[in-house]
């Protein structure tokens, strides 16, 4: 699995860095070669530096489980080996109904998620819990058809890369594991962040017999169809800049035309490549705007209050830092120099990078792009007035055509809401279902597509003003602000409540 280290990092954290196929009938007034790009929305940033997981941090065993490729048909298909990480170090075992904490692996190498979900490791001892990190099919080492190359060969081999199949994988794995350990009486608690958080919430809703509750952090389960306005994501990103500095916001907003103008000049791409210090000369302005868009969107997500090293080494409050660079650049700097100074906070905070590299193969097969082109169709627009990004109206036809060209597949844009719901969720789940925490930080651009209000007594929203993308799932640090410490305490209390309720119910009938 030589390519997995690179690939998982390309898909790691929600970023809709780039939008859709340019259309000649586009209603926007942007230079046609800037925005949108011809890539479907994606969760995770592609311009991030691969950081090898530090496996010294947590102790676990790596195992494999044989899964049917298709849970929902009886075609005679080969099975595949699903990887999962397991730690029973703190588990109190079946005799004391020790809980099982299961993180719903999302679109990347599961080791990376294990290392970056410190919360589960931090609290497992207190609960006497087993820890499980099953990997999502088609990512990391959990490859159908024995290799990534075979699994990603074409639309036929990729066709079983869906959320429903992944949930069924989790269900089958945990059922089998519990039986083997005679641990049928041990309650399972689900965890997940980002797409993994969506899986956790959906899993609790679809498989209540498998898990007693779910902590779904930064899970934009409403980012489909017209449930939330398509401008939401970019508006939140933009507001995160505006709240720091309106001149910073204005500079970025003005920069796109400046970039386009520069690019159209003779020798323009060479000049841009020089200004932005790319190792190799740009082949299009689009590549540069994608690179900038990624940085801004990603910064909004990891706009944490303390220094972090999630995908990039960053200072605390990195957007504030970026705006400080832009606003504080020497008088007489060109707008492109301002932008470069700003974006360097993201791409080169340590100052070690001499020149920047771009992804060479933007059309390569990629798991999340496949998912976005099939089920995970998340409409995105950029509002002419409120967004600092180039204006763009969601164009499904163009999107569909892009998917047809890239993968020879036709998206099913209404399938997710048909299968999992989303419309009127507050009515639907008011008297249905229980035990889900939707946790969100309002700085996170994905919070706009998530559940931000309590639905019932047991399906609750935990919202933090200053939180960014699933910060609560990260390991506790000494710099954690009070609100974060409190948020995690609340989460533990709610989880404890689920377990207490479970034990009470089991006890009540065992005496009957």
């Amino acid at each position: 699995m030589a390519s997995s280290t690179v690939s998982f990092l390309l898909v790691l954290l929600f970023i809709t860095a780039v939008l859709l196929q340019s259309s000649s009938s586009s209603p926007t007034s942007q230079p046609s070669d800037i925005f949108p790009s011809n890539k479907p929305p994606r969760f995770l940033g592609k311009h991030s530096r691969p950081i090898k997981p530090n496996n010294q941090q947590y102790r676990y065993e790596t195992r494999f489980f044989s899964q049917p490729l298709d849970h929902f048909s009886f075609l005679d298909l080969p099975t595949f080996q699903q990887r999962y990480l397991i730690s029973t170090e703190h588990w109190v075992g079946p005799s004391r109904s020790g809980p099982i904490f299961l993180y719903c692996g999302n679109e990347g190498d599961i080791e990376w998620f294990a290392v970056n979900t410190g919360f589960v490791w931090d609290i497992a001892p207190r609960f006497g819990a087993m820890i499980l990190f099953p990997e999502h099919r088609y990512y990391g080492e959990s490859m159908p058809f024995r290799s990534r190359e075979e699994a990603y060969r074409n639309a036929t081999t990729l066709s079983y890369l869906t959320a429903e199949q992944a949930l069924a994988d989790f269900a089958l794995l945990i059922t089998d594991l519990k039986q083997n350990l005679s641990a049928e009486g041990c309650p399972v608690v689900l965890f997940g962040g980002s797409y993994g958080g969506m899986l956790a919430a959906w899993m609790r809703l679809k498989y209540p017999h498998i898990a007693v509750g779910a902590l779904a952090s930064s899970a934009p389960i409403l980012q489909f169809e017209d449930i939330v306005p398509p401008e939401t994501f970019y508006n939140i990103v933009s507001n995160s800049f505006k709240r720091e500095s309106s001149s910073c916001f204005d500079t970025i907003k003005r920069s796109w035309n400046a970039l386009a103008s520069e690019g159209q000049k003779e020798d323009g791409l060479r000049q841009l490549s020089k200004t932005f210090r790319f190792c190799r000369e740009l082949t299009s302005v689009q590549a540069l705007t994608d690179w900038l868009d990624s940085a801004y969107s990603y910064l909004a997500m990891v706009n944490y209050p303390y220094p972090s090293n999630f995908l990039m080494p960053l200072p605390g409050h990195p957007i504030k830092e970026l705006c400080r660079k832009i606003d504080g650049s020497p008088d007489g700097s060109s707008i492109l120099e301002l932008i470069f100074n700003g974006v360097s906070v993201y791409y080169n905070y340590t100052g070690e990078v001499e020149c920047f590299k771009l992804d060479d193969d933007p059309h390569g097969m990629d798991g999340w792009n496949w998912q976005a082109c099939t089920e995970m169709v998340m409409p995105m627009s950029s509002d002419r007035n409120t967004s600092m990004f180039p204006a763009y109206d969601w164009d499904y036809s163009a999107f569909r055509e892009g998917c047809r060209m890239d993968f020879q597949v036709i998206p099913r844009p209404r399938w997710i809401t048909t299968e999992f719901g989303g419309h009127d969720i507050e009515h639907v789940l008011k008297f249905f279902g229980s035990n889900i925490i939707f946790s969100n930080g309002l700085l996170d651009p994905w919070s706009g597509g998530s559940v931000l209000k309590n639905i019932s007594e047991t399906i609750v929203a935990l919202v933090t003003e200053e939180g960014a993308h699933h910060i609560d799932l990260r390991s506790s640090t000494k710099e954690d602000p009070d609100w974060l410490v409190e948020q995690r305490e609340t989460e533990m209390k709610v989880i404890q409540g689920w377990l207490d309720e479970y034990h009470k119910k089991m006890k009540a009938t065992s005496y009957m």
Copy 2:
């Protein structure tokens, strides 16, 4: 669809008429050629007389909807046309949020279910409801690959005949239909009997955003793995005979050895064929015992308190009638004559049949047999002491081998409980889910695998002592006993409660 009239009747109502592959290591002492047979358990009786649905009774329009063959992968497969029946005659429409009553079509021609589910037609006017009867894929006229012959060609073409796919069909159809009618605000109520009742209950649990509640009549969702004892079904059948007459029970119990002995004689099969008036000579005793088993099991299911014409014209309390024949036969009758006199109540109550025909092709492809050999693995045993049928211990290995031989498919006996739950259902659903009625009559042998106790305030069991297989879903008649009238009144009241709750929730937020 020339063969559909016959085929749907073969699969119509729950009967586990025949059991499993004979095994040389069978722990039973029965003659090896009698019981069990080499057929998997099936829902519906095969020895029933095709009765053409009387379409004059109810007015509806027949339409077709294009469905993906596989909802859970993105293989480039052909779509198929799902048939559905629709009546908007009494629907008050979107402006008044008129409800939609959706019957979850089960393993047969949907017209037959429409005609035999009078309850829905009876109550729709009172609710101002639209009526929908979507057909289950691979049955009736809803054939993938354009014809029954193609759809049933082999395990590959049959592989998409699963409950999950059928539920997704319903979800997609209703979502599309509501959108086309601008009826998104119209609540859907699910109905279903037998396997259709299982689908209704599962649909409410898996798709709460699609339907506000489900009436699941005679739905044995617990008849899987070891949730209920495998002897349950045949014990209930046997008790239905015993409660009428213990000598009747004894006679039937003794008859199997007598049949076997007779069959082993030279000329025995010819004699048996003569005694039982078969048109063509029997080729095995097994064929005869299957025929008898079907009759007894089926009689237990349709042991209605008034004359009925469900699959066969029958008197009220038909088991009482059968036992009267057995117990009242002239002195000196042989045990085989007693059995023949009894079973004639089932197969020839009108006295019009001159000779009996057996199914010529017991190994033919059949939709329910496929489902039983893949997902719907319902373990069945026959207890040596309490059952009047030949003793048999469930033998999964033999069952598996039979499926491999018949369909070249390997069953997934634990899949249904993994996907839909079942174990500890009272704990799992106590604080999860809402708005399901499990209605059962205790005379129905399938009641033993259903939900017979309230789980919560809104997931309730309606149990009638004298009820048989989903009698509540049948059209009201003048002969309805009081308990049946009351049961249906309760059902209507509960359904009205779901709709009131729905309207209240919608109203509450529309003013916000």
